[in-house]
Symmetry: C2
């Protein structure tokens, strides 16, 4: 993720990006508190090199707030509570806000009961799974997240229609000194954004990325764009995306299948996104510190294995993003100039005086 | 899974296979109750066409009981209980026995708390995830299972050494009239058994299945056998196998990495296998019946999608196995003659008078 190269690169201090983002979302109608939550999530994604989920999405998030698809003033709340479970109504607030609220709830419940399952409905695009499962890890817990994506671009295995999202899935497991092991992955081989990029640059794509409208593999990005994205790992990835949708959305009656609106194309429509959070308080199973040391040893063991020719390092899930974040915190976040410019223009349009760069 | 063709096929009534299996395991030293649990699990795998996990493994299971790697008389027990969690010591009994005990515990806890997390250690090869998550589904719950495999044959991404198993993962979600949606998958592209089969028949294998000792893709089954199996979906499958191992084994200090013995090659060694079970009682989140109807609708929607040319039907995870089971229950379980013969010989050796066939 952290291996992007940009034609013209600009570095922005994280504090400045955070302050800018807060201004943007306050101008977009959010309270200062909510704007801070959104800012923190988006800037962290950029720090980690996950630009697809960072501030480059400001324009669509703001558009949805302006057009009413997402509520500016929605407040998440627990609407059902039983044992170690909760059902949260996201109040149609931005998904970052509903997600943080629901994960805080999940962490608190797991502190009491050793584990928790929190289902959230009536929410929106929530950003990265990494952000939320890291919250659990910071609390000495394991975080798990089953989600449905914000548009249907995948066919069921053997099908040709866009009936499923490339529904992401996340798990975070803390270590003592090593970075939290974070699996955060969508269930397609490649993000649809990569197909869009290839279309713009008239570049062929690998035949493993997408199927054309007839269900055949294609290297033509235009045919791929009209068709469906392929699940990673064939029918196994299809299986995972189905399970994610059922746990994330069917469980609590959030949008699934034909009810899924396109987050990007229908900014005036309520999304009714849903997802499922689970926490495990490690102390319930074993002494936390002993576990964290075992995790360090497990990471060291995997990283210490003999490498294939040409491989410099073996990485754990989430480690590349962690490394990118450490560099960004020291040296500033690397951005392509285009993202800076479009966001400075957005600020201007919203009457925000601050800019990402001087 | 249900698409095997055998040179010489024999059909065995499930009741007969069950009775035979019970005799085999009682002769192997198990109590009648434990032998029944093992019989039920193995025969169900065969009914579902998952022959890799069925009675063809009797010889290794019996060998381990005989050589002391697995305990004949071990009894699983809860050794720690906090809130909606439990830690189970499998007593080094067969994994089918420990797994069933732990899943019953998980289901009972979830009935009370709406959700549960049960970690089991000191157990053995447990068979299929499908069996256990179906238990949860039968109780109106969702079952989730994170596990570590019984031998290391996979390298970390970028590595060349056998440091990881192709650790399986399972989720079961009940429907009203449709079969339970069951994802039960290992994290390798292909089972290692398929490489062994290709080696025996001197057949090249697809270059996506395995890496040679240097970490290069190979179509030579001998080089593949000496090397490592590939994770499904590349680094994403690697990420999943790591997470499975950490949740299944590192969490409760079961065998991971160098501590993993080869279940097949070291029948005298204690395995100390571990896995993690999670249940969600659907009634805690929403009315169970409403949910089951939504699941039926979700399944119908996916199955009703337009199919690619040459595709007869869109299947949900677990549906092919369910269909195979329905046929097996009516018409008997299809077995290759070789499996019948080797098991009848095993019976003879164990002094069991019953045979699988007349």
């Amino acid at each position: 993720m952290g291996d992007y190269t940009f034609n013209t690169e600009v570095r922005v201090r994280p504090e400045r990006a955070l302050a800018f983002e807060k201004e943007i979302y306050m101008a977009g109608g959010l309270s200062a508190k909510d704007a801070e939550i959104v800012a923190e999530h988006l800037v962290e994604a950029d720090e980690r090199g996950v630009y697809s989920h960072g501030i480059q999405r400001n324009h669509i998030h703001i558009k949805r707030l302006e057009m009413g698809g997402t509520s500016k003033t929605g407040v998440p709340s627990v609407i059902r509570r039983h044992g170690a479970t909760a059902l949260v109504d996201g109040g149609n607030a931005m998904g970052f806000i509903g997600g943080k609220y629901a994960m805080q709830e999940a962490i608190e419940i797991a502190k009491q009961y050793g584990t928790s399952t929190v289902s959230i409905t009536n929410t929106n695009h929530f950003g990265t799974c990494a952000y939320f499962v890291q919250m659990a890890a910071d609390a000495g817990q394991i975080g798990i997240m089953w989600t449905i994506n914000c548009a249907n671009h995948m066919a069921p295995w053997g099908g040709v229609e866009r009936q499923l999202g490339n529904n992401p899935f996340g798990v975070g497991i803390p270590c003592k000194t090593r970075p939290t092991v974070i699996l955060d992955m969508a269930t397609s081989v490649a993000a649809r954004g990569k197909i869009v990029m290839a279309m713009k640059t008239h570049t062929p794509i690998p035949d493993t990325w997408a199927l054309d409208k007839a269900g055949n593999p294609t290297t033509d990005p235009v045919k791929a764009y009209e068709g469906t994205v392929q699940p990673f790992g064939g029918y196994k990835g299809y299986g995972m995306t189905v399970i994610n949708a059922m746990l994330g959305a069917v469980l609590n009656n959030s949008a699934f299948g034909p009810a899924v609106i396109d987050f990007y194309e229908e900014p005036d429509k309520v999304q009714n996104n849903g997802f499922l959070l689970q926490c495990i308080d490690i102390n319930a199973i074993d002494n936390l510190d002993d576990f964290l040391l075992r995790m360090d040893a497990a990471v060291d063991y995997l990283k210490g294995g003999k490498k294939a020719e040409g491989v410099d390092e073996i990485y754990l899930p989430g480690e590349i993003e962690y490394n990118a974040q450490q560099i960004a915190l020291k040296e500033g976040i690397r951005y392509p100039i285009e993202v800076i410019q479009e966001n400075n223009e957005l600020a201007k349009r919203l009457g925000v005086s601050m800019r990402l760069t001087d």
